[in-house]
């Protein structure tokens, strides 16, 4: 796994785990890889994966069943969207706004482009 420069690795792994669940590679409500297996797969310190799993447990995306391991929650998809939305609004949006002001792009133009984008993607589906 290639890690990006800016974000803490445990959060990047949280994104990776979320993606596996969103894409259905790790089915909802089922056991996910153990801390040690995922650490080996991603070549990172097991403590880092532990931190990811703690974080995702707090978000309600996964849950620890004592003695068995970690499972993704039945409502994992909702939970993932909730915390990713929160992250987007807190981290990505301010950066986006900063670029808008820096480059002098007004919101109306963004709106037009956004509508066009939504149209092409809905047509494509």
């Amino acid at each position: 796994m290639d890690f990006r420069d800016k974000q803490a690795i445990y959060l990047q792994i949280a994104e990776y785990v979320s993606e596996q669940v969103l894409l259905g590679r790790w089915p909802v409500g089922e056991k996910i890889p153990s801390v040690r297996d995922l650490a080996a797969e991603l070549e990172v310190n097991p403590n880092t994966v532990m931190r990811t799993y703690d974080f995702l447990s707090q978000q309600g995306v996964i849950a620890n069943k004592r003695g068995i391991g970690y499972f993704s929650a039945e409502d994992a998809l909702d939970k993932i969207r909730t915390f990713r939305r929160e992250q987007f609004l807190q981290n990505d949006l301010p950066q986006f706004f900063k670029n808008l002001t820096l480059l002098g792009i007004n919101l109306r133009e963004i709106e037009t482009r956004y509508d066009a984008y939504v149209n092409t993607t809905t047509n494509a589906q």
């Binding site: 890690f3 990006r4 800016k6 803490a8 040690r36 297996d37 080996a40 070549e43 990172v44 310190n45």
Partner: protein
Amino acid sequence: MIELTKVSFGYQRGRPLYEGLDLTLSEGSIYGLLGPNGAGKSTLLRLMSGLLYPKAGAIRVGNYVPGDRHPAFLEDTFLVPEEFYMPPVRIRQFVDSNAPFYPRFDRSQMKHYVQEFGLTDDQKLNELSYGQKKKVLIGFGLATNTAVLLMDEPTNGLDIPSKSQFRRLVAGAVDERRIVVISTHQIRDLEALIDPVVILAERSRSRMTVALKASVEEITAKLWFGMVSELDSSRPILYSERAVGGYAIVAENQSGEPSRLDLERLFNTVQAEPQRISQLFSSTSTYAAV
């Protein structure tokens, strides 16, 4: 648990390398031991494994004093040195004659490592390259399942794919009862693998000290790593260097802003400002004290 209490050591009379060095390492972690050339990283590993004796102070590993070289200590400790000798025998023979010293040695694990590193059991050690020999020794060390595994510059001499294999194998071989200590200069190789980080720096008159021992979580709670376009005074900067489009800085993290640890810059920060780092990490209280 590895405990060094007020340890002093030096190779020459009147020229101590360490004086009053304190360091405690606990199970279930892969420690990264970093320090400039000549800081005594290898010396520290040798002291922990009982190959050298402290001039003063005490070292304990679990219930043992390494220097006593008690068999029960030796069978639960393995050191992968940077320079080593391998006898001219086949890998299989090497395993057969050395595995009995380690009660928890796992042959199937060793077999898997040899395979993973692209070697075979019947290859002769004297016909292997330095990197290949090193892989055999690393695999053997992991397979001993000793409570203490010390590795001195393990990725030196490994080719690019082997470095990734190394990370995978070590990440998969650590458990709650094991302490792994890796000394390295190859920060980029091991950045995501080591946590906590132990950094040695010069304190005074060429005496080395542990300037920082902290987990990645603690480090990013206290320090902020990032890029800024200008060096302003809005953040208390500990270290900066020119980078494309501005400066890469390490600053005190006063607002609790998350960032990704950059080991190379952390290392430079600790070498440049050992006092401030010690202060920052010793005070669990607020930043107002600093």
